[in-house]
Symmetry: C2
Subunit: 813 residues, 2 copies
């Protein structure tokens, strides 16, 4: 029943990437099932001689899926519950999604190789792991610093220019300069993003999260994405958008880790052969976990927070050894950043001064708080949770709207970005005119008004001795604005109306900015809005609480973070490391607990939401309740292609050409065994390498491992980096070779994980998820049947697939 | 071949616990295999009519194990590589170790129950989880505070008395009073420990770690253990031993969680029926993880550190939801502690003052450090790692020596404790006499000498205006001594000779104290010794480094912690929360990384070492290399007992009586199926409940789920708390019922996890460990054989078992 899809896929494979995306968008109606083209075993093309028709559970649902004759009909309509599935709404391309494979392949070849491996090689391997962690830490630290340096200088220059023009009362010129620079930067960032690497748009955290769950969407971690992420993020942040560099830093860290882990990029002629040892998805997963932690560490200067972020939000699998390596990476980042900041302290880095790398020294020294304080904090947490959930809901709506615009092509993406840029410029330059000029407080150590540097007292259009409090928030970098909001002992410096105006503007701008084609993090908008909300609440609750307005701002930020991202421990530690104030830890914990609990009543966390919206088949750690009522055999769809232990070359070639399956069961038959039995599972990539090597025989005989080892090293079979493996087109099999035989035994994984067909689907899902599998073989329960019923892949566990097969099932029961 | 063992077991079951322990010690030669009595399926008693002799892989190793006729011979000699296996060296009893079962049982009964479960019940269940987390937090916080309060008052009284006597120059009386109080407290703690709950001796962290890995040793978490742990710990710490209350607090937290989770203790008539919903090992595991985190949080006042400790050191399985709940628990602990300390600030808590609950406010404000500083820190880390590894090595030796004494019985345990107590008293009272009296520094805010309170300047035997620096360390509680060492800006207050003397004494006393029959944590001795070592190194490296002596003490403590316990992130955060100094974070990280790496070259972490020494069958997350060369079928030993789908009552009774197996495969045969096929796995506990209910039939017919549900609720089959389930002796089957039949289908888990016999053992081990199984069914590869080959249990994956079966295998290859 997937014939229709396959035909489309084969057709579109001839075209370029851009065309694939457009074509896929056209056929959205039948997209739900496309996922397993790379993956499953659910096709029914008649490959000559290789069919082993399997018996099936008699079920009405299969009936009309089997009549593959009617090609034109959208057969998969029943499966497409989620029409946005497979489409990356936020400016990424619609491209094939591949599943990663964390299973240890144990075939004869690898076993032989393992035996011959010397101790020194294992030592080298371990050493290399640490060296890579070091490199990732260094590179991420340097990139993080470079990012800050560039932003501080570009944005600093822009703000200085504007403020100088305003001092000369050339207000309109100032606006033109300010808005113009913003627009140019925004357009440049959007162009980079739209034309070079659409995958670089957005935060990147959902993609990294999906990758670490085992989903490899096209070019998520490619070098081009890395490039655009770095420069696009600089452009976006400098352009004064309400967005952060934190999410992009996580993605950047992950890209760096991927690049280093696969030994550079062949496409760009940057390869290091000595780094190519990491030829398994499992090793790369570990590296990318380290990379994402390093990204957070670099963005917030929070090494422990980085580790916890990787653990709590990013990673799906975790083990103690990884904790240790991640910690090492983030420690390196911290050291690198510290060194570079020391270097810059002498003034060699242009406008990069104290402002670079947010670090808010609150030191409010609250040592006690009373019951009314606690009540105030609880109220703050509850309302913050509601606002956070609302943010997620609205963001979802806006992203869905934007997707229509973004899908129309690159120029539309850029146009959208420019529109938002103009809107942002108007807001941040226009709104401060509504604020009143306030006389500077008398007893003040700080200079007032602050000219040419960050601080609470921007004078804007005010006469000397007066300041404009709204300008202090708007006409600054986001980091400085947050610092101003967090500053303690400044209870009356911001007017209530100012705070309300700023809150509304930031909340709205944050929502409309995220979906544009620019690398954009969500941390900063959420913290900004949250801090403003906190200060408002603090002022309103002033009569009953003695806590400082700066502390309230911090708690407000925590409540918004808890309400949108639903992270707890990591946000707590990140805030701790940002503000360097241990004493407020318990209050922050309380706020986070409350706001997360409240927000969880409404919807999912923002990253989970985006993962789902992008159609990435994320697997949760727990099985869904309805899976308890099904068994593994229920969701295995279609008969499958199997090979004999010694198979005809022609059959293999045909199977590889006509299907996109990634794994094929190998069945031993007489004379190699007494009765047909499952020998194991052979991977597509291994078959390609074997065929390329052309060790064929005229007769149906076993050649054995040694024969193969003469031609190949085990290294040849190790998994290549994304987009670097052999392709079917690389094969060059002669006509006469098609009738020869090839022995699959040495390269077959003899220990694939199996479940019996009557195994509860919930338990099969747990097995699949916990072990990080790509294929799970389903074997028959009763004897006397062919030795394999089918293969379960990630696709088969998705709610869309299961609920498509069994529409009467109640998804929450 | 286990007949011999089983006979012994049956014999000793008649005797009391004490006797079991002694008997088990006598037959140590054949102990290696005893583990699976509760667990495996490896016995060969001839149970009439129920034998289904399985075919086996032809292998020389099985040959002599099969001749079960020669009962007298110690057949298992080959399996007893580790003679200390199964024996808890540190003063616990030698008792049966049971495996926990985290598999979701999916039988017809539960499915029926699940369907009928209403939404409100699921909501109640979730609410209950949170309520329990809250209760655990509250209880652990209160207990932690009580512990501190008692210690501060008892030890404070003792020290005050001694110091007053010394002021009157009655030095010998002072020693008698000091040593006498110490001795009485020590003897009381040891007596509690030796007679009431031997399992309470030692740190408790290794036991909790093993429990969370799935090993349930007898009475590890019993109410009696909790009682002794609390009061024994108070006695031990007050008695001036060089030990801490941190490890015991972790164990206490775990015990509290267990007690609450299983709904109280039936033995002590403390039961809460509404808490009995947590009838699975999985739920209890989560609660106990929360409990251990709460323990650390209470001991160090470090909520985030507690979560990380549970994650890094204690737990073997982790998921995001647990992070969240653990965090909630530790937050509650923090709030409770804060509230109670507030309450005590008004002076209502006797001698409990600022000293209670260690919290070292260093605030050294190092903002910069230079290259020489870094070199000094690296040197510190390397040597610290070596000292840490040496500590582990020596501790191992000493514990093995002590085990000979402790095994002789309770009086010997008490005697050993008293000896160490006298030694400690002599050291701490005697050694300060060797120190010179130092004149008080002139420009000092602090009172000097300090009389009747903690501080750097104890006067001891010195004239007014002088102080004895060694007495400031020895004649204080351990917490105060650490505070003195950590204090900043006090570079010259401790003499070099004093520090050397103190270091040698503490390092030695810490080693000899851990093994005595008193609840004793390792954190404090290690931190004490490390801090002293750090101050020494700081003073020695003073010429090249500008860092403060207090900071060096902190780094030294970190290096020792890294060297012995091999924790990284959690130690880092705990130290951070203890000292409230974020700026030294990167230095602490560096030191931890170095010392752990250095120490890992020598041996394992101290807790892993103790787990191994106690013979707890801990399963590592990774498979051992040699397992790659074996398949699952290789380690399955002996034929197994299976039941028919509808089985004769007599057969079941006999199987339950003669074996200790916990799981029995159920095989459907004609007429219930076409050919013999594996229907599932039935648990011993479920069989006992079913037999107790007496729903028997005269004919071999299926009774069905509904019939069973009339008699039982699914709740009846849920797992009871430890020691609370039905026992075989509770059955009362009449002679005439023995020939009747009972339908096992409704209570059989129809989805047990299975592996094919040719599955690589390494991959089977990963499956077993990742899913937290207790039984793993091994099915035959070739058709036409009986449908199950055997069952793998935790025991079958232990190195002792495997290397016993295949002595020629190199364990590291």
């Amino acid at each position: 029943m997937h014939l229709f899809l396959d035909l489309i896929r084969l057709r579109i494979e001839a075209d370029g990437i851009e065309k694939i995306c457009r074509r896929a968008a056209e056929i959205r109606g039948s997209r739900g099932g496309a996922m397993d083209n790379q993956d499953g075993s659910n096709d029914i093309e008649n490959i000559e001689g290789t069919w082993r028709e399997m018996e099936r559970n008699a079920s009405g649902f299969y009936e009309n899926e089997n009549d593959a004759g009617s090609v034109r009909q959208p057969l998969l309509r029943k499966r497409t519950m989620n029409t946005t599935s497979q489409i990356a709404i936020v400016g990424a391309n619609v491209c094939p999604i591949e599943s990663l494979d964390y299973e240890i392949v144990e075939n004869d070849l690898f076993k032989q190789d393992w035996r011959s491996r010397k101790k020194i090689q294992i030592f080298q391997y371990v050493l290399l792991k640490w060296a890579l962690a070091l490199l990732i830490g260094l590179a991420t630290g340097v990139v993080g610093f470079f990012n800050n340096l560039a932003v501080e200088n570009i944005a600093g220059f822009k703000l200085l220019l504007t403020s100088n023009l305003m001092l000369e009362h050339r207000y309109f010129t100032a606006f033109l300069a300010y808005g113009g620079i913003n627009l140019i930067l925004a357009a440049a960032a959007a162009a980079l993003c739209a034309y070079i690497a659409p995958a670089a748009a957005g935060s990147g955290i959902p993609e990294v999260k999906a990758y670490l769950n085992g989903v490899d969407a096209y070019s998520i971690l490619a070098p081009s994405t890395l490039f655009v992420k770095i420069f696009g993020s600089i452009g976006g942040v400098s352009a004064g958008f309400v967005l952060g560099k934190e999410g992009p830093m996580v993605h950047t860290g992950a890209c760096i880790a991927n690049l280093l882990g696969q030994g550079g990029s062949r496409k760009y002629h940057l390869t290091w052969t000595w780094l190519r040892y990491f030829k398994s998805d499992r090793d790369r997963r570990d590296l990318i976990t380290c990379g994402s932690a390093a990204g957070v560490a670099a963005a917030f200067r929070a090494p422990v927070g980085g580790v916890l972020f990787a653990l709590e939000e990013a990673a799906s699998w975790w083990r103690s050894a990884l904790l240790w390596r991640t910690f090492f990476t983030t420690a390196i980042v911290a050291v690198v950043l510290r060194g570079l900041i020391e270097y810059c302290r002498s003034g060699k880095c242009g406008l990069f001064g104290k402002g670079g790398l947010i670090m808010f020294d609150i030191s409010s020294n609250v040592s006690t708080y009373s019951t009314p304080d606690l009540i105030a904090v609880i109220v703050l947490g509850i309302i913050g949770g509601v606002f956070g959930a609302l943010f997620n809901y609205l963001l979802d709506r806006i992203l869905r709207t934007y997707s229509f615009i973004n899908e129309k092509g690159a120029p539309y993406k850029i146009l959208l970005t420019i529109t938002i840029s103009i809107l942002t410029s108007c807001c941040s330059y226009g709104l401060p005119w509504l604020a009143k000029c306030t006389p500077c407080p008398k007893d003040l150590e700080e200079e007032c008004p602050t000219v040419g540097r960050s601080g609470n007292f921007k004078n804007f259009h005010c006469p000397p001795g007066y300041y404009n409090d709204l300008a202090s928030l708007f006409l600054n970098t986001n980091d400085d604005a947050i610092r101003n909001l967090f500053s303690g002992g400044t209870g009356n410096e911001f007017h209530m109306s100012t705070l309300f105006l700023f809150f509304a503007a930031i909340y709205g701008l944050g929502l409309v900015t995220y979906g544009v084609a620019v690398p954009s993090g969500l941390f900063i908008p959420v913290i900004l809005a949250g801090a403003t909300y906190g200060r408002i609440t603090g002022t309103l609750l002033g009569p009953i609480s003695d806590l400082d307005a700066g502390l309230f701002a911090l708690l407000g930020a925590a409540s918004f973070l808890g309400g949108t991202m639903r992270m707890t421990v990591s946000v707590c530690v990140i805030l701790l490391e940002l503000t360097n104030d241990l004493l407020m830890l318990s209050l922050v914990m309380l706020v986070l607990l409350i706001s997360k609990t409240v927000a969880d009543c409404f919807n999912k966390g923002v990253y989970d939401q985006i993962v789902m919206m992008k159609g990435l088949p994320y697997m949760e750690a727990h099985a869904e309740p309805y899976m308890r009522h099904l068994v593994a055999g229920d969701v295995v769809s279609g008969p499958l292609i199997t090979f004999s232990g010694v198979e005809k070359v022609g059959n293999i070639v045909q199977a590889l050409r006509l299907t996109g399956h990634n794994g094929f069961p190998v069945i031993d038959e007489p004379p190699f065994s007494d009765a047909p039995e499952l020998f194991g599972l052979v991977l597509r990539s291994h078959l390609l390498v074997l065929l390329k090597g052309k060790r064929f025989t005229r007769e149906r005989v076993k050649t054995g491992v040694k024969e193969i080892l003469q031609r190949f090293g085990a290294f040849d079979f190790a998994k290549a980096g994304s987009g670097k493996g052999l392709k079917f087109e690389d094969l060059n099999i002669l006509e006469e070779e098609m009738d020869m035989f090839v022995d699959l035994h040495p390269i077959t994984n003899t220990s694939p994980y199996t479940v019996v067909e009557t195994m509860s689907l919930a338990k099969a899902a747990v097995l699949f998820r916990e072990l990080g599998l790509r294929h799970l073989c389903v074997v028959p329960k009763t004897p006397g049947r062919p030795p394999i019923v089918g293969i379960l892949t990630r696709h088969d566990f998705t709610p869309e697939h299961i609920l498509g097969l069994f529409p009467h099932i109640h998804p929450h029961k």
